[in-house]
Symmetry: C2
Subunit: 303 residues, 2 copies
Amino acid sequence: MDSRVLRVREWLRALQDRVLEAFVREDPTARLTEDAWERPGGGGGLTRVIADGEVFERGAVNFSQVHGDTLPPAATRQRPELAGRPFHALGVSVVVHPLNPRVPTSHCNVRYFTAGAPGEIPAWWFGGGFDLTPCYGFESDTRDWHRAAAALCEEFGDDVYSRFKEWCDRYFFLPHRNEARGVGGLFFDDLNEWGFDRCERFARRVGNGYVDAYLPIVRRRRATPWTERERDFQLLRRGRYVEFNLVHDRGTLFGLQSGGRTESILTSLPPLVRWRYDWQPAPGSAEATLVEQFLRPRDWLAA
Amino acid sequence: MDSRVLRVREWLRALQDRVLEAFVREDPTARLTEDAWERPGGGGGLTRVIADGEVFERGAVNFSQVHGDTLPPAATRQRPELAGRPFHALGVSVVVHPLNPRVPTSHCNVRYFTAGAPGEIPAWWFGGGFDLTPCYGFESDTRDWHRAAAALCEEFGDDVYSRFKEWCDRYFFLPHRNEARGVGGLFFDDLNEWGFDRCERFARRVGNGYVDAYLPIVRRRRATPWTERERDFQLLRRGRYVEFNLVHDRGTLFGLQSGGRTESILTSLPPLVRWRYDWQPAPGSAEATLVEQFLRPRDWLAA
C-alpha cells in the first residue's frame, strides 16, 4: 500500500468513528451492531449499524477497503480505459433512515480510488458528497443544508458548490419517475484536478461537514408528532429510495460487481418499505408539495 | 400490424381475462383497479390490479403492446444484431403476492416479439414461463408445480421441460445472495425453432397452464393460520424479490428502458417489504429450510 492510501485510510476510519459517535449521542436508545469482514478477493471492511432507536429506525456507517486485479466498469465513467486494471478503493458510506417522517433521510460518501498496471504511475481520484432526502419538505432545512454545502466548498473555488450541486441533482434523479431522489447537496467523482493534497482536503471537509449539516435538522424535527398517514407516505417514499439505489446507483452496482459484502452494501436500503399501485397525493397537500416544490432542481441559496 | 400480431394479441387479451377472473373467483374480497394507458412512443396497455384481499395482498395481471423504432438491448440476448431495430412487443405479465406467508408468490409471463427493418422479413420469437416463490417451502406444492410444468411441455419434446426448467433456475438467481429467487418452473426466450404455429401453441399452453398449476396450491394453504414471526419472515423474503426484479430482471429493465409505464411495470413489487441487517434464520427452523432445501436447483420430479 502506498503512503497516500495509508493516510486516506487513517482519516476515513476516524471519520467513521466521528459520524457513528455523533449518531449515538443523538440517539442513545439505538441498538449497535458491528461487523468486521474480509473480502475473499482482497481487502475488507467494518460495517457499523445503528437500529431501532427513537430517532433512527436504521442507519449504517460503513468503512471498506477493497483491492483487486480488475476495476469494475461502474467505478469510473470518465476514464473507461482504467476498467479492468488493478485497483484499490477505500471509502466511508453513511445512510440513515429516521423513524419520524419529518426527519429527512441523509446519505454521505467519501471514497478514494487508485488504478493502474504494475510499473505505471497509478491514476487516483476522490469521489463523494452528501445529499438529503426529505419525506416532508421544509424550506428552512433545505436552505440550511445547501448553505452548509456551499460554505465548505468556498475555499476551493467560486464555482465548486454550483458544479457539485448540479452534479448531485443530475446523479440522484429517477428517470422512470421523472423526479429527484431528494433535495440534493453535493456530488463529485473522478476528482484529481487540484492535485492530491487539495483534493484530499476537500474530501475530508465533505466527510466532516456532513454530520454538522445534518444533525441540526434532525434536532429541529425529531420531536414533532406524526400520524399514521404520514408514516404511510414515508414508507411509499422509501420505495423510491430503493428504486434509485437498486436500479441506478453506481456505488451499489460497484459494490455488487466487485464482490463486496452484500449485507453491508444493502444497509442503504430502508428498514420498511411500501409500494402501492399508482398512489397520488391529494392536490395541495404536503405530500403533493414535496414532489412539486422539492424534488425538482432549485437554487436553494437564492433569497 | 401483421396477422400474427393480431392473432397473438387476441389470445393474450383472453389470457388476461382468464387469469384475472380466476383470481377474483378465488378472492372476491379483493379490490380491483383497471387502467388503460397509451405509450407516447407507440402502443399501450391495460393494467389490472387486485389488492387488499383476504388471499391476495396485491397482484397484477397486465397486458401491454409496445412498438418503436429501436429495440432496447434488454429485449434479446441471442440476437444482439436486432438491438436498435424497429420492434413490436406484446405480452401478458402476472405477479401475485398473497397475504398469508404459507401461500407462495407466483409469476407468469408470455410475450411475443417481432423486430426488423422495413423491407426485411421480420425476426420473431416468443418468450415467457412461470415460476413460484414460496416463503415457507412445501415439498408437495413444489412437486405439483413442476409436474404441471412438465405435463404441459410433454407434447413439445422430451427435453423441453428439463431445458426450460434449467433455464428458469439460471435466470431467477441472485448472484449477490447466492440463492435462487424461488423454486423455479419454466423460462424460455428467443423461441422460434419450432416454427410459428408450434411456438405459439406452446406459449398459449404456458399462459393457460399457469392458473391451473397455481390455484390448487393457493387453496391448499390459504386457510392455514400464521403468526407475526412468519409475517416478518415474509416481508424479509420479499426484499429478495425486490432485489431480483430491480437489479437483474430483464423484463423490468426492458420496460423501463423502452419507456414503458412505470406504475404498470412496478406492480411486480410486493406491497410491503422489510430489510433487516444480516438477519439469519435459526438453524433447523422452517426459515432455514427454505434457503437450504428449496432455493437451490433440484430435480422436483425425482421420486
